[in-house]
Subunit: 349 residues, 2 copies
């Protein structure tokens, strides 16, 4: 492996000069600069990041701690993070960890010294103890129960979004509105449930716990929850699923049971994943700008790093947007948009 010394020797200068050229620090004559650039390029010299981080105590790497999650949400949020990180010259060290206290703690320890800051997604409500994280480095909580004063956090407007969607359903005349809840101890799930209840109350509808069914964010759980709802004596006329995957599972169950959507039962989801509009019928949902969520989290983290973790903590929420399609309203078909330009490579498999 070629080191800075090799370059210095080859260029007949000292290591200091090489370092100065490569970092743009200190004054160097144009000619020397040109020479060193040429030599370094020719020898394919790349600085050893370990050595560099040893002396500068910077790694230019951000840690990302994810729960054991599935689906499109994951890839989208990482895309957003990577974009912003790269634009600022940072790398992403990604790791999955069990959502509980212990898992997060060991994961953070393992990252210590490798990263300048960490984005933690820990949707588990139990992880209260995130508070005393063993970290002197900046941390941003993403989609986790916020701790406004101690840790930067970024969440989705879950409650508001859910409330708006349920309000949309009541405005259509629905009175018996069921919810398929998200994973049991999940923060987003809890907030969406709260929004649902709030909307019912505002519409003067008494809550009915038979209409609140368990789910875990998977298609399968949405499918079986919908089947259960259909067996009730007093069926709901609308089903709000806490995410799109479950809504899709529910659509499938209704279809197989010969129940018309939206005529007999309206269905709505949350997240507005790309697929939603291709469902039959196209699925009404609460749009979440997932990619920007990741981008903002990294922005927040970079801000903390720039201020050496000695900054006013922020607590941001990204706002959602109601997207009404046929699954909640019998209207003329909304045609999917024309395909994206073929030229712009979309290399998904």
């Amino acid at each position: 492996m070629v080191t800075i010394k090799d370059v210095a020797r080859e260029a007949n200068v000292s290591v200091a000069t090489v370092s100065r050229v490569l970092n743009g620090s200190g004054p160097v004559s144009d000619e020397t600069r040109r020479l060193i650039r040429e030599v370094a390029g020719r020898m394919r010299y790349v600085p050893h990041s370990g050595a560099r981080s040893l002396i500068t105590s910077k790694t230019e790497t951000l840690g990302v701690l994810l729960p054991d999650l599935y689906g499109e949400f994951f890839s989208e949020v990482i895309r957003g993070m990577d974009d912003t990180a790269q634009r600022n010259g940072f790398h992403l060290l990604i790791s999955r960890a069990y959502a509980d206290r212990h898992g997060i703690e060991t994961a953070i320890r393992a990252m210590r010294g490798r990263v300048d800051g960490v984005v933690v997604m820990s949707p588990d409500l139990d992880a209260e103890s995130l508070l005393n994280l063993p970290s002197t480095i900046p941390v941003v909580l993403l989609c986790s129960v916020p701790r406004g004063n101690e840790i930067d956090s970024l969440t989705i407007q879950n409650c508001r979004g859910a409330k708006e969607m349920v309000a949309h359903l009541t405005s259509l005349g629905h009175r018996r509105i069921a919810i398929i809840k998200g994973a049991p101890r999940n923060y987003d799930a809890a907030e969406r449930l709260r929004g649902y209840r709030l909307a019912l109350r505002e519409a003067g509808i008494l809550p009915d716990h038979l209409l609140e069914r368990a789910g875990n964010f998977t298609e399968a759980s949405g499918y079986s929850a919908a089947l259960e709802l259909l067996e009730l004596d007093d069926r709901p006329t609308a089903i709000f699923a806490a995410n799109d995957s479950m809504a899709i599972g529910a659509l499938s169950a209704l279809r197989e049971s010969g129940v018309g959507v939206p005529e007999q039962v309206a269905v709505a989801g949350f997240d507005d994943i790309p697929l939603a509009r291709y469902m039959d019928p196209p699925l009404s949902s609460v749009h979440v700008p997932i990619c920007e969520l990741g981008a903002s989290a990294v922005d927040l983290l970079l801000h903390g790093i720039a201020h050496k973790n000695d900054h006013a903590r922020r607590r941001e929420r990204v706002s959602t947007e109601l997207v009404i399609r046929r699954s909640t309203r019998a209207e003329p078909a909304e045609r999917p948009p024309p395909p994206a330009t073929l030229g712009k490579a979309m290399a998904s498999i």
Copy 2:
């Protein structure tokens, strides 16, 4: 930040002894070992990975270079990688890069010194020049055009899988079978197209270039390709989409055009993403073990690292499996499986 010296001082021993205890190297008395463990724990000491990698020239980190990809494939493959990496004490440094030569090259340079090896996904056919990667570290090509002799590579049995699916369609009596192709210069796409043509030839069906439509792996492109196919004078009776997303888009288009699936037109996809079975009708597809794909890639890479890149190169393919559902065959409904255990947290949002 507490260093090994701090620990040594606090425990009244030399840094060497601390290092020995923490790495399990060299002989240390039981009592000293216990003491040092206790002190290090109490002081929350974590070794500086930069300093360590400086002297050991190991980083215990794997680089992952991804194209600009969307959807579930991405998250699944990373899950597989992270599992295997963590099990072997490695971290994952993830970065997206433009698929072209230049993009990959700069990305690899940026990673050099930070990682012990790299998994490169570069599905772009143009990236022939991957050959002379500027790397002395082990590289594994994932889902890229394989270079059996020079670089380890791991691919999907695209051709075989596509061929089997099309053979399934011909066995049902279909003669006019269309394909919605994948992204233009994509390796997987090209292989799936090859399998399609092979199957047609074996069934004695003459190719019809009107039945080969452009696509780019997105729902939108599948949607519009299907619409075009419906406008043909001599319509196909079956559509094979090079991935599930496009198949879903096609289903949507057929539905809106009032075309019955599978009675009037059969539809099949590729990948067998979880959603496939929840479509209407449930989508026949070619199952790809995505998670294992990532796991195997990391295994391959770790093997290369263990042998200091001085090992016989391998070229593996993960095999696919035909999954036939209602979209290609009018039979009694296949009911989705019961939901996964709720206990097992699935924290997707």
